[in-house]
């Protein structure tokens, strides 16, 4: 167990591409930190720098206070689980798990004890003599985990270890990894592009975009108070609705006006976020999570100032919930079109859609107008120029 500190690390390739820019992170002892972001955001590069598989261009990596930039991977005492599992195909499951111990000159009885213990935890006891090609995807993933845990390393690094599994197995293995990490209490840095995986696994989640750290916070904090437009759009499924709006002074308070609609911003929200006062009479970006929109007809006595009426463009049934896509206005500009069919398609693309996650009992229909109630206490506001969150 150990503490890992990334002190302003940067990775720049010889062609000038900067994969990671001044990354500052402090991963506590026993913590499971998830690095999440879209493809190419630099999360795997950051992980490989911690492992020692990539050189650091500038900045320092500290493990338990000791700089390790120039320490070889094998001397960092870190175990890594690869996306491809990287099992040695010519060795049995037992030998795969025992591999690192043999080269660390651990006594044979101790190797056997540790491998059998890991196999018991990971339910691999029956497969110890098999070769990796004789195992299913989930079993291979467990062998990769076993190889990491027998070493009893100072930290685990996991590079999208579940991405090759089917959806059902991924959920199962996700829970197993979380259980195992808590039981072992080993500091873990986990890389994924899947925000659901990030939110369910991480003690804290670090969101990266284009090599720059956007926000690092516990999952609920990221969800409730995204630091900027990128995090707001990336965390949550379906993603947050982001609308161009104007904050206007209304009767005894402020109103957010967008696409011909007006929503009352509660006095409590204004008082909690004093910075919003500075945006009165100005444009800003209004953020509304789909789950903060509901069919008003299903609510008992909704506040009339929180209800807007929107035409329903699409209704998607998901069983436990319904996703309703409504048009709230049009984007500025638009394609020049000539044929009739293309004109309709272009018109559809120009529309700004707002997605609502509704109760399955909703009766809203495509092509009809629906009254939608907005949870006004959960509105988000962002600066249109910087993209930063306004207020706390």
């Amino acid at each position: 167990m150990s503490r890992i500190v990334l002190d302003g690390i940067t990775k720049q390739y010889p062609d000038g591409t900067t994969a990671v820019r001044s990354l500052q992170l402090d991963v506590g002892d026993g913590e499971l930190l998830v690095l999440v972001g879209p493809s190419g955001c630099g999360k795997t590069t950051a992980l490989r720098m911690i492992a020692g598989l990539e050189e650091v261009t500038s900045g320092t990596i500290l493990i338990d206070g000791r700089p390790v930039n120039d320490v070889e991977p094998r001397h960092r005492d870190i175990a890594m689980v690869f996306q491809s599992y990287a099992l040695y195909p010519h060795l049995s499951v037992f030998d795969n798990i025992a591999f690192s111990l043999k080269y660390r000159k651990v006594a044979k009885p101790e190797i056997r004890r540790r491998v059998e213990e890991a196999a018991r935890i990971l339910e691999l006891e029956e497969h110890l003599q098999r070769k990796p090609r004789q195992l299913s995807g989930g079993q291979r993933q467990r062998v990769a985990m076993g190889r990491a845990i027998v070493r009893q390393p100072r930290a685990f690094l996991m590079d999208e270890p579940l991405s090759n599994l089917d959806a059902k197995l991924r959920v199962q293995m996700r829970a197993e990894i979380a259980r195992l990490q808590r039981a072992l209490g080993v500091t873990t840095i986990y890389v994924t592009h899947d925000q659901t995986e990030a939110m369910t696994l991480g003690t804290r989640v670090a969101v990266l975009n284009r090599g720059v750290l956007q926000q690092v916070a516990p999952p609920q904090e990221l969800y409730r108070r995204p630091a900027n437009l990128f995090v707001a759009g990336f965390i949550g499924s379906p993603s947050m609705n982001l609308l161009e709006a104007r904050l206007e002074r209304g009767d005894g308070g402020a109103d957010a006006v967008f696409g011909g609609h007006r929503l009352r911003v509660p006095a409590q929200v204004m008082s909690e976020r004093p910075a919003l006062d500075g945006y009165l009479g100005r444009d800003l970006i209004l953020g509304i999570r789909p789950e903060n929109l509901e069919d008003a007809s299903l609510l008992h006595d909704p506040d009339p100032e929180s209800v807007i009426e929107l035409p329903v463009e699409l209704r998607e049934e998901l069983g436990s919930e319904v996703h309703v896509h409504c048009a709230v206005g049009e984007r500025s500009g638009g394609a020049q079109v000539e044929t009739a069919g293309a004109a309709e398609a272009a018109e559809a693309l120009r529309k700004v859609l707002l997605v609502a996650t509704m109760d399955p009992r909703t009766t809203v229909k495509e092509g009809e107008a629906a009254k939608i109630a907005v949870n006004l206490a959960a509105l988000h506001f962002f600066d249109p120029d910087t993209g930063e969150r306004i207020g706390s």
Binding site: E72, P73, A86, Y88
Partner: protein, 296 residues
Amino acid sequence: MTAAPVTPAPPGPGQPEPAAARGGPNPRARRRLMSGWVFFLMAVVAVVMLYPFYYLLDNAFRTQKQFDQQNGHSLSSWTQLFHQLPVGQETLNSLLICVASIVIILIVSTSAGFAFAKLRFRGSGMVFLLVVAALMVPLQSIIIPEYVNLSKVGLINTYLGAILVYAALGTPFATFLMATYYRGISDDLIEAAVMDGLGYERTFLRIALPLSLPAIATVAVLQFIQIWDDLLVALLFLPNPGQRTITFGLAALSAGRTSTIPVLMAGSFVSAVPAIIVYLIFQRYLVRGLTLGMGK
């Protein structure tokens, strides 16, 4: 609800009639006909390729007179062969030179191939290009400089001289093949071994080398056949009769006036057998190694 028998509807206007209705062969029969043609063609190719071996073996068991008349068989050509040619010694010489050269080629090509494929070092691409360029240089154009160089260090008429020449000639192709094979091994596997506590040297020995056995077998077989069948290097670098290889011995036999065609046939057969045996044992790996990078 009652189930009604389903009868296929007649083809509508503009729709093609089924092949059977047109009286043409159905797809299965067409496939069978096609594979029959392929089999016939392959059989013709096999006969063309194997006939010289049959001719060689058949005439190796004749006397010169029987060969002229193409009638009767005898073992006298074999006794003459073993009388005129030290077959055992020359086969042993060939074997020694082959094995030693292949060992050197494998040591150099596996380690160099791994370095080119998996290690990042300055000038790697340029050096690999030079190795590939060496593949294009014909043996005949460098054999005289090689001779001059080796004679200066006293390696003419020694096994070592011939072994070094064969190793130098075989290494570029072998390195190219091994580098191609190692490029197919996932980088994750190498990095996993490094993370598991091995340096690159032990990763090469414990992970890369065992995984590259098919490529190693391919290199070994191809080089064995090439070195075993070579005459030019043996003629130049091993002129001493006691060090001759089997191909050199056969060439000397054909140049002599006392040998007959059946004796030469018997000698050729003896010289071809080891290469054929090696090929037959390793052909499975050979095909796999030669089709590297083709498809998934």
